[in-house]
Symmetry: C2
Subunit: 344 residues, 2 copies
C-alpha cells in the first residue's frame, strides 16, 4: 500500500469517488480516484495467473475494499468501479475470451465476477484503452481533443480516444497498432505474435534488444561488449544507459527505433488524424529526464516531419505520457466515471 | 439530368428531403435524397475549376434549385443540404484550405458561399467520408455498425464511420489511408504525393499501370503487348479486360494488387477494428460482375486471413461498395439529415 505524498488527502478530494483496476499478467493495480482524476490510495497485488480467474476476481474484490478503507472512505462513497484488462476480450459482454497473458482464463465473465466480489457496478475496458483514457483525462493528453497512446515495452500496446471515448472496435480489438504492418515483404522481421513486418517487431524493447544483439554479432564496437561479459543480460534499459553514456552503437539503435516508431505514428495520423500521440511504457529511454530520452523524442518528431502531411506534422502534438504505470487504473476509474455520469 | 427508373417517384418518397452535393475535380454531382436515402433526381455539372470557387458555388446553388424542381419539390421541402468536398479543408469552419484537385480555390469559405447561393443550411464534409457515410447509410454497409470505405481510382481515398459518424480528425485529415506506409524502406515506391512506401503507390490504378509497364519492359509476355501497339494507352481498365480474358500477367498484377491492398486493410483492422471494410471506385476490376473482380476480392480476403488476427479475419466483412459514384451525394445528404435531426 502506498501513501506517498503524491496522493491527495481525502479532505481535499472531490466526490464522487471511483475505483480503478488495472489487471496485468504479473500485477493488479487497484486505486481510489476522485472526480478530478486524483489518486487517493492504491494497492498492487500479484495476479497469480495459475490460481485462475475466479480466485483473482475474489482478490480484486478484497483489494477494492482495502483501498477504499485505506483512503478513509466506505463502500457507499464509491460510485462505480472501472476494470481494464488485457485481451482478447468481448467488452460489451464483459468477457475474457482467450487472453494471451492470462493463460487459462478463457471465456470467463470477468466483469460480472468482479462485480459480484466487490458489490459495486463495474465498467469493463481494454487495458491499453483505459491507459489512453487516463492520459486523456488527467495526463499529458488533458488538453487534447483526441489522442493515441503507444505503450512501449516488451510489446507495443496502443489505445485511441476520439470524442471522449475509447475506440473499442467491433470485436474489442481497437488500437492494436503494434501489429500494423510497416514492411510487407516476406523477409520482414518476425513479430512476437507470429506474423511478419509489424511495428512491434521493429520498435518494442524486444526488438531493440534483438537489433542490438545482431549488431554486436556483426562485430560492431560498443561499450556494451564489456558490460555483457560481466554476466549481465542485454536489455533495453542497459542499451538506454550506454546510449546516455555516449556509446555510438546504442545511440544509433535508439534513433533507428525512433524512426521505426515514427512510421507507426504517421500511419495513425493518416488514418484517424488525432490531436496528439503520446508515448508511454518502460521503453521510453528515460523520457524527458534523460538526454537520450529527449533525443529519442526529437528523432520521432523529425521523422514524422519527413513522412507525414506537412499540416499534420506541424500541428499534431507528439510527447511523452505523464502518468506512468498509474495511467491504467486512473483511466479505468475515469471510464467508470463516464458511465456513472451517463446513468445519473 | 437523369430520370432513370432507379430513381424513386416522389409520391412514394419519405419526407423530409435533403440535397447532397459531391464536389469533384472534374464534375459536381447534385441530388435530392429522401429520408430513407433514396435518390429522387440528380444532376451532374462540370466543376470548371479555372473559373474559380465563387463561380462554382453559384452554379451549385443553381443546381440545387434545378434538382429540387426536377424532383417535383420546392425549396421549402428541403430540410438541409450536405456538401462533400475534397481537401485540404477545415470542416468545422467550412473552409477549403489548399485543395490539390481544386487549384486556386485556396482559403475559400465554401460552406457559407454555397449556403448563400442556395438559401438553405449546409453541412460540410470531406468527400471520402461522405461516400463512406452513403455506403453506411443505404449501401453495402447498411447492416454494419462501423466501416471503412476504400475508394480505388487514380489514387486511394478512404473514409471511416464509427458510432454513426465520420472520423473527421482534428485537422480534417481523417481517413487518408491511401497514404499509410506499408514499406518503410528508402527505396520503396514513390507515391503521387511525393512520399515513399504509401499504400497508394502500390495499389491505386496509377500503381497498377506502372507495375504492369515495368513487367512489360522487363520482357514479360502478355496479350497487352499486341493491344498497346494499336495506339492504345495502358490503363487499369485494359489490364482488367485482359485479366478477364485470361492473360496470366494481368491476372498476376490483379492478385498482387489485392495482396498490397490487404496490407492496408489489415492495418485498418488492427487500428480501429471496424465491422466491415468496403471497396469502391473505378478500379475494382468489375466487382462482383466479373470473374476477375471476384478473384480480386477473394485474394484480398485470403491475404487478410494470412495477415490479420484470426478473430478479425474471420469476423470482419470485406466486400464491394454498392452505390458507385452516387455514394458521395447520397452520403452528403445523409450527413445533412443527421445534422437536421440533431437540431430538431
Amino acid at each position: 500500500m502506498s501513501d506517498t505524498p503524491r496522493f491527495h488527502p481525502v479532505g481535499e478530494a472531490q466526490r464522487p469517488f471511483y475505483v480503478g483496476i488495472d489487471l496485468g499478467g504479473t500485477n493488479i493495480k487497484v486505486g481510489v480516484v476522485d472526480d478530478l482524476g486524483r489518486a487517493l490510495s492504491y494497492l498492487s497485488i500479484p495476479t497469480e495467473v495459475a490460481k485462475g480467474a475466479e480466485d483473482a476476481a475474489a482478490r480484486m474484490g478484497a483489494a477494492v475494499a482495502q483501498v477504499v478503507q485505506s483512503a478513509g472512505l466506505t463502500q457507499a462513497d464509491i460510485a462505480r468501479v472501472g476494470l481494464g484488462s488485457p485481451g482478447t476480450m468481448d467488452i460489451p459482454r464483459g468477457m475474457l475470451l482467450k487472453p494471451v497473458n492470462l493463460q487459462g482464463w478463457n471465456d470467463f465473465p470477468l466483469r460480472d465476477r468482479v462485480k459480484h466480489h466487490c458489490s459495486l457496478p463495474v465498467t469493463f475496458e481494454n487495458d491499453a484503452n483505459a491507459a489512453a483514457y487516463g492520459e486523456f483525462w488527467v495526463g499529458s493528453g488533458r488538453d487534447l481533443h483526441s489522442l493515441a497512446l503507444f505503450t512501449l515495452g516488451t510489446g507495443i500496446g496502443s489505445g485511441i480516444i476520439i470524442d471522449d471515448l475509447p475506440i473499442d472496435g467491433e470485436n474489442s480489438h481497437g488500437g492494436e497498432c503494434g501489429h500494423t504492418i510497416i514492411d510487407f515483404s516476406p523477409n520482414a522481421r518476425l513479430c512476437g505474435c507470429g506474423k511478419r513486418g509489424h511495428l512491434e517487431a521493429y520498435a518494442s524493447a524486444t526488438a531493440v534488444v534483438q537489433r542490438t544483439q545482431e549488431a554486436l554479432e556483426a562485430g560492431r564496437a560498443s561499450s556494451l561488449g564489456e558490460k555483457l561479459t560481466q554476466h549481465r543480460r542485454l536489455t533495453a534499459k542497459l542499451i538506454a544507459h550506454e546510449a546516455e553514456a555516449g556509446d555510438p552503437l546504442c545511440l544509433e539503435i535508439v534513433e533507428e527505433t525512433a524512426r521505426y516508431l515514427a512510421v507507426g505514428v504517421v500511419n495513425l495520423l493518416h488514418t484517424i488524424d488525432p490531436h496528439g500521440v503520446l508515448l508511454g511504457g518502460a521503453m521510453t529511454f528515460g523520457g524527458h529526464e534523460t538526454s537520450v530520452g529527449r533525443r529519442f523524442l526529437a528523432e520521432i518528431r523529425a521523422e514524422v516531419r519527413r513522412r507525414a502531411f506537412p499540416l499534420l506534422a506541424e500541428r499534431t502534438v507528439i510527447d511523452y505520457a505523464a502518468l506512468g504505470s498509474d495511467a491504467g487504473f486512473i483511466g479505468a476509474a475515469g471510464l467508470a466515471r463516464l458511465e456513472h455520469l451517463k446513468h445519473k
